[in-house]
């Protein structure tokens, strides 16, 4: 009997937290289909009384929000591919090759993970402006293409690969580049997908750096686009709901499909750490 009560109360608590977790998303999506009058009406309902796509239509025609979306996808894909490849390569060399200074380099890369953005961003901004990189996508890619987190994850993962495997390939006459591409990369799929997911999200939500570097509307990214929209149409709540929904919902869909990989990635990083 006592066990039953405990079981039910456990489920009730979990369900309650679950509802609190989902409610803001549900409210955002439902409100994005309401007209502005209905959003600011005195009497509020959760479901839209009259379902309208007007917010999405006018968001696109006034603001070209899909362009920011496409820009963000492009930059996020490029950065993610680069980070994954560089992390794997560095992780391979730092875990499987023994040479002097190896631990020093690795330790230094780890230390950089602790440095707050506020320490480096001002001088990076000055450097990039002087180098004439303002308003180029190169400026968004360069400072994030090496990830301490990525190198750390890949070093942990690749060091667990048996040396015999690599040795056998060497005896068969494969050079190191082939070993890396044909053995190491394919065997690190799980960590690669974890890094890819995180890196993609970090680019997707990064605000300050693109805000500082990109000054043309056509090249701007999603997170900055959101604040620009809010600055220009401060009272268009319907539009803001639609814009936030466009930035959030695709992420949730991808996450729900690949949630096992997400979770495995986070967990792997913690246990090995």
């Amino acid at each position: 009997m006592k066990k039953h009560i405990l079981k039910y109360s456990l489920h009730i608590v979990l369900a309650l937290v679950g509802i609190i977790t989902i409610l803001p998303f549900a409210w955002m999506i439902l409100s994005s289909f309401k007209s502005n009058e209905e959003i600011s009406a005195l009497h509020q309902t959760l479901l839209p009384k009259t379902f309208t796509l007007e917010n999405y239509v006018s968001l696109q025609s006034n603001f070209d929000f899909l362009r920011y979306f496409a820009n963000s996808v492009l930059i996020a894909v490029i950065v993610t591919v680069l980070v994954v490849y560089i992390s794997c390569l560095c992780g391979f060399v730092l875990s499987k090759y023994k040479f002097r200074g190896r631990n020093l380099i690795f330790g230094f890369v780890m230390m950089t993970m602790m440095v707050p953005w506020s320490v480096t961003i001002i001088s990076r901004y000055t450097m990039f402006m002087k180098a004439g990189l303002q308003n180029t996508y190169l400026s968004l890619i360069l400072p994030v293409m090496v990830s301490g987190f990525g190198i750390f994850m890949m070093k942990q993962d690749i060091s667990a690969l048996p040396d015999e495997l690599l040795e056998a390939a060497r005896i068969d006459g494969a050079n190191e580049f082939r070993i890396f591409h044909q053995i190491v990369l394919p065997m690190s799929k799980n960590s690669i997908s974890a890094i890819a997911i995180f890196q993609f999200l970090w680019v997707w939500e990064d605000y300050l750096w693109p805000y500082l570097m990109i000054d043309s509307d056509k090249k701007q990214l999603l997170a900055v686009g959101l604040t620009m929209f809010n600055g220009r149409y401060a009272t268009d709540y319907g539009g803001l709901f639609a814009a936030t929904a466009i930035s959030i919902v695709p992420v949730i869909v991808v996450y729900t499909i690949f949630q096992k990989r997400f979770v495995a990635g986070v967990a792997a990083g913690s246990v090995k750490g």
């Binding site: 803001p24 605000y207 949630q259």
Partner: protein, 292 residues
């Protein structure tokens, strides 16, 4: 024991090693070391890029920082923010992970998937959604609870409102870490404590909690590092206001650097945050390491 040293080394191995080492060292120098050095030097200058000022003023930026009331307010807010949000993250994370891991709960994946959802969503967008949720006229929160509080415009409620959003966004990460920490505890430990007649609380207090120490350290330290750098929620939801009641130290750097363009002054504050982060990280290592 006597591992045969492989005769170093094929040519391609040396080429690859040199490539990677050169790349990493050069990259770290250009994108980390040089910026840190420039910022450190800049913190001793009156540095404003708009009018091209760059003038040596010694320790003035640091002295001004310590005399600036907003600096202390923002440090105080940051400490409160960190303590409250990290505490909620640990308690909620551990509690929910413990509940989900219980043998009585079946749909583990379902709950885990939902709890982790806010963590993967982009912060800027989420902060906007919460900003509208706090609207006193048609926001979800006042309507749902029948309240009439103008959360983000009240110096009493604005900081708690930002903290609540952050807790909601991030607790799922701790749930996942604690779940995998709990999974890694071997079942024998629980059997042994069952034989010894320990009750549920004793088992949790003397078996589970000490064994979760590595996870605890990881959660607390990664949380501290990221919350000391938080500025997006403040920028979107309150702009530091009303007054200075929601200024966090990293938002102060953003405000001084990229709203007011006091680069030297902002760099001084940034270095203070760096040292503060390092000290706090070491402290929490020590504190959590010594318990048990």
């Amino acid at each position: 024991m006597f591992k045969k040293k492989r005769a170093l080394q094929s040519k391609s191995e040396i080429v690859l090693r040199n490539m990677v080492v050169t790349f990493l060292v050069a990259y770290m120098a250009i994108f980390m070391v040089i910026p840190i050095v420039i910022a450190f030097a800049g913190s001793f200058h009156n540095w404003n890029p708009l009018n091209g000022t760059y003038k040596w003023i010694g320790l003035d930026n640091y002295i001004r920082m310590f005399q600036y009331p907003t600096f202390w307010v923002s440090m105080g807010n940051t400490v409160i923010f960190c303590i409250v949000v990290v505490a909620f993250r640990v308690v909620l994370g551990l509690g929910l992970a413990y509940a989900i891991s219980s043998r009585m709960v079946k749909s583990k994946t379902f709950f885990r998937t939902i709890f982790y959802m806010p963590t993967v969503t982009p912060l800027v967008a989420v902060a906007y959604v919460w900003k509208i949720m706090y609207n006193p006229q048609f926001g979800l929160i006042d309507n749902l609870f029948g309240l009439n509080i103008n959360w983000l415009y009240s110096s009493k409620f604005a900081l708690p409102a930002v903290m609540a959003m952050t807790i909601w966004k991030d607790f799922g990460y701790a749930v996942i870490l604690f779940m995998s920490g709990l999974l890694s505890i071997p079942g024998d430990y629980y059997e042994a404590s069952g034989i010894d007649g320990a009750n549920a609380w004793q088992t949790f207090r003397y078996i589970t909690l000490p064994l979760l120490r590595p996870t605890m350290i990881l959660v607390v330290i990664t949380s501290l590092i990221s919350y000391l750098q938080a500025y997006v929620p403040v920028m979107v939801m309150t702009k530091g206001g009303p007054g200075t009641s929601t200024f966090l130290s990293s938002y102060l750097v953003y405000d001084q650097a990229f709203v007011k363009y006091n680069f030297g002054y902002a760099s001084a504050i940034a270095f203070f945050i760096l040292i503060f982060t390092a000290v706090l990280t070491l402290l929490s290592f020590k504190l959590i390491g010594e318990k048990s």
